[in-house]
């Protein structure tokens, strides 16, 4: 097991290193610069800016310097979006906002999606199953910005009577700010999870051991949740791993619609603004997080099914 971890960590470091170098080079290859605006600064000012932030050096020297600073835990400062502010403090401030909404969204997605999936599988072909199928198809085919916009119009000012929630996200307003964003962000994963659970569950329910359990006279609830679900969870976990990383790091669309000061939206804006250190910082952070979540998923496989051997046969 420890050998397995050493290998995973080694691979992770190499991946992060490659992601760092690649992003750095690609980012510099894109035309534009952080200093441009409708009113360009004078040549002298541009030169002073480049010198101040080290952009006057060749790209490979800049990369070396960046990697050196990275080892010391220095992610640099924002060049444009929050001029001169340390990238680490920006991420430290924005990630928790995204993470909180993402975590709440996924929580409800799983807590509702998995039982619904089980229910649909159990009531296969019945009316309940059909209703659930309609809801899930809707959720999967509707992009999150549609869900978000519809909710916004319906519950945040479209009709005065229904104005229950604020249109601008404000943590000071407490739970009311979270309802709409979390619902829109979690709707798709909920539907997806429910469908995954349903089909995996149907598979499990046809297995011999379930028939044995039935023959033994076990109760339905026990058969489903104790025996069948465990087997059915593997595909769900596989889906949820990367989804956790993406959702916690911020749903760009939902953050835009509800004006949430989260990392997802910021990441996209940093690219548009050519704010190099912010692009690098958020990319490295995201990459690390996704790699971490993949490790967690592997561990969860083992929990769900002890027969899985992590050390053999790669992934």
């Amino acid at each position: 097991m420890s050998k397995y971890f050493a290998k995973r960590i080694g691979m992770a470091l190499v991946t992060i290193f490659l992601v760092t170098c690649l992003t750095f080079l690609l980012m510099n290859a894109v035309p534009g610069s952080p200093w441009l605006s409708e009113k360009s600064p004078s040549e002298a000012t541009l030169a002073a800016l480049n010198a101040k932030y080290g952009l006057d050096k060749p790209v490979h020297i800049q990369l070396m310097k960046y990697l050196g600073n990275l080892l010391k835990g220095d992610f640099g400062v924002s060049l444009k979006m929050q001029k001169n502010r340390a990238v680490t403090s920006i991420i430290a401030e924005m990630f928790p906002v995204s993470a909180r909404i993402g975590a709440l969204a996924l929580t409800w997605a799983v807590l509702v999606g998995v039982p619904l999936g089980c229910l649909a599988a159990f009531k296969r072909g019945k009316f309940t199953d059909s209703v659930l199928r309609v809801i899930c198809t809707l959720g999967i085919s509707m992009p999150s910005f549609v869900v978000a916009s519809v909710l916004l119009v319906a519950f945040a000012g479209g009709l005065a009577v229904l104005k229950i929630f604020p249109t601008i996200f404000d943590p000071a307003l407490g739970w009311r700010s979270y309802v709409l964003p979390c619902f829109s962000l979690g709707f798709y994963p909920m539907c997806y999870t429910a469908r995954q659970t349903r089909s995996a569950m149907l598979d499990s329910l046809n297995q011999e051991y379930i028939k044995t359990a039935r023959a033994k006279g076990l109760k339905n609830v026990k058969i489903i949740f104790k025996h069948a679900l465990r087997n059915a969870l593997i595909p769900v976990i596989t889906y949820l791993g990367p989804q956790v990383a993406f959702t916690l790091c911020g749903g760009f669309v939902v953050e835009s619609v509800f004006s949430i000061p989260g990392l997802g939206r910021y990441f996209v804006q940093s690219i548009q603004n050519r704010d190099y250190p912010v692009i690098m910082g958020t990319t490295i952070f995201l990459a690390t997080f996704i790699i971490l979540m993949n490790v967690v998923v592997d561990l969860l496989y083992k929990v769900a099914d002890p027969r899985i051997n992590l050390t053999k046969g790669g992934e």
């Binding site: 035309p31 709440l104 799983v110 807590l111 945040a156 976990i237 969860l300 929990v303």
Partner: protein, 581 residues
């Protein structure tokens, strides 16, 4: 037992979520409570009224809290480093220069004494001009320390210092010694700004700059504290170090959400200020701004989705304010096709500016008849005929004359060797990816093709790529826009100087440069303006470097129950003396 454990492990993230979510809480004050009406006019603001208004009852929780939205997170609210209008509006509330903008009673901002109660101006024998500013008594920083002339001296030298790398350093390029300091050949200390004593600031200008009193009301020239800024690049991000001398002071900055400012009890006109707090909500989506305004969460917005503009304009909810800026098309004068002024003129003449204003942009813009927009002062100064009125129209924008303009354009194109557009190469119009620019681009494409018989393709690029290409001259025709920094034609005309930093047209004409030089060399207002008019004649009438389309306006919506807001056509709104009825 084991079963529950397994099921729970599935929702690993869920468990984490609950602990994270628990950190919410807190209650926000209701923003809709009415405050005792405190109507404040500029006159009242000027006289430091000793008369005490009965203090608003107890806590500001029930006070007058204004919520406005200008734009998203400002890039910098360091007065020297800021280069955006939204940042300037916030800085105007948090700092104050030697002069300041006050309400003329009709919602228009006029200049008045700010931190300096008076100044003397003397012309020296060598043509330089010395200003002596006498600072007001009782001016303090938000932490209670006195504002001194030395603070201004420090801040101006900091602005000019190339190490500061300020976009707007050139705003004080009329100060003696600036050129040498800016190019690094002289120490910033040689800049001719000097604190004679705590209350007297002496500034020497190389010439009698007619808009200097406006410059000292420009955010870049506002004082900052040496002990807060020096060696601390992040001073603007901490409420403790972000010390200002303006009517409001920073209370809280929740990044990408809002900046909340509160009345500065150390400000000399504290008693007359309106809102207890002003919240600058930071949003980047125009639909979100409008939704929040409609739902009452915001009292003021200045950006609306383009599609909604006509409706709100028609219903009278939307106000249109003047804005000193021009939306135009610039031609690359080094391009094979567009190096011919006749072709440029033909392309300019067939633009139906009325159509674009009435049917495309639809925010009450004014069809442009020249490059310097209406509202820019001429020699006679504010309140008299403006530069545009004196300079006249370079072409008619009367709808009845459109056909004649097109006739002339076709004749010009024929003269240039392309009768009826025959043999004219396919040319490209470049714009940055945005709905409004796209719609205008499509309208232009249509006019050029219909009226001249030429083929124009449209190309859009990401903002940053677009700026780079336009700056480098990698285009044929490009959209462009320019907003005034100060109310003077110089801000529009000196940019077309050969090799100027914003000379996107790559334009170079010695006659033009000579007129700009002449304008900058003289202190006589009439001569100066004559040279600027001559320069604009060359730029638009003779060379047709640009095709001006419309003069910008500033749409804005203010809640019905708020009054007392005022505005400068430079785009600055002032909220410090508003009241809720």
């Amino acid at each position: 037992m084991r079963k529950t454990k397994k099921v729970l492990s599935l929702a690993l993230a869920s468990a984490m979520a609950l602990s994270l979510a628990a950190c919410g809480g807190g209650n926000a004050g209701d923003t809709t409570t009415a405050a005792p009406a405190e109507t404040t006019t500029a006159a009242a603001a000027e006289t430091e009224s000793a008369a005490e208004e009965s203090e608003a009852p107890a806590e500001s929780e029930d006070g007058f809290n204004l919520a406005v939205c200008l734009a998203s997170e400002p890039q910098s609210i360091d007065p020297a480093l800021n280069s955006a209008v939204d940042g300037a509006i916030m800085i105007n509330h948090l700092f104050e220069g030697l002069t300041k903008w006050v309400d003329d009673g009709k919602g228009n901002a006029i200049l008045a004494p700010g931190q300096a109660e008076s100044f003397e101006k003397a012309e020296n024998e060598d043509g330089t001009v010395t200003y002596n500013f006498k600072l007001r008594d009782g001016i303090k920083w938000s932490d209670g320390k006195d504002v001194t002339a030395a603070d201004f001296e420090y801040s101006w030298k900091r602005l000019a210092n190339p190490d500061t790398a300020a976009d707007y350093c050139y705003m004080i390029d009329m100060v003696k010694g600036y050129a040498e300091v800016a190019d690094g050949s002289a120490d910033p200390d040689t800049l001719a700004v000097k604190a004679i004593d705590d209350k007297t600031l002496e500034v020497v200008l190389t010439y009698d700059c007619p808009y200097f009193e406006e410059i000292v009301a420009f955010p870049a020239t506002f004082p900052v504290r040496q002990d807060m800024t020096e060696g601390n690049d992040e001073w603007t991000y901490d409420v403790a170090t972000y010390v200002g001398n303006g009517p409001y002071k920073m209370k809280e900055w929740s990044h990408n959400a809002y900046i909340e400012v509160e009345k500065n009890e150390n400000y000399y006109d504290y008693a007359n200020l309106g809102p207890d707090t002003i919240r600058f909500t930071l949003l980047d989506d125009e639909n979100a701004m409008l939704a929040a305004y409609k739902s009452g969460e915001l009292d003021f917005i200045e950006n609306l989705p383009m599609d909604e503009l006509p409706n709100y304009l028609a219903s009278g909810e939307l106000d249109i304010s003047d804005y000193l800026g021009t939306y135009y098309v610039c031609f690359n004068t080094e391009d094979e096709v567009f190096k011919d002024p006749k072709i440029r003129k033909a392309f300019s003449l067939v633009i139906d500016r009325n159509y674009i204003v009435d049917n495309v942009s639809q925010a009450g813009e004014v069809p442009a008849t020249g490059f310097v927009p209406a509202g820019v002062n001429d020699a006679a100064g504010p309140g008299h005929d403006d530069f545009r009125t004196v300079g006249g129209e370079y072409y008619s924008v009367d709808e009845a004359d459109y056909e004649a303009n097109c006739e002339e354009a076709r004749a010009l194109l024929a003269e240039a060797g392309y009768p009826g557009g025959e043999g004219f190469p396919t040319v490209e119009y470049l714009y940055n990816t945005a709905d409004n620019h796209k719609k205008i681009g499509e309208a232009l494409q249509n006019m050029w093709q219909e009226q001249l018989g030429v083929t124009v393709t449209l190309n859009n690029q990401d903002w940053n790529v677009f700026l780079e290409n336009r700056k480098q001259g990698h285009y044929q025709i490009a959209r462009n826009g320019w907003i005034a920094d100060y109310n003077d034609p110089c801000t529009f005309l000196d940019m077309w100087y050969t090799d100027g930093g914003n000379n996107d047209a790559q334009y170079s004409n010695p006659d033009y440069d000579a007129q700009i030089d002449a304008a900058k060399a003289t202190s006589v207002a009439e001569e100066r303006m004559k040279a600027f008019h001559a320069a604009e004649d060359i730029l638009i009438k003779d060379d047709n470097v640009l095709a001006p389309i419309y003069f910008y306006t500033q749409p804005n919506m203010l809640a019905d129950d708020i009054s007392g807001m005022y505005y400068t056509p430079l785009g600055y709104f002032f909220f410090g003396y508003t009241s809720r009825n």
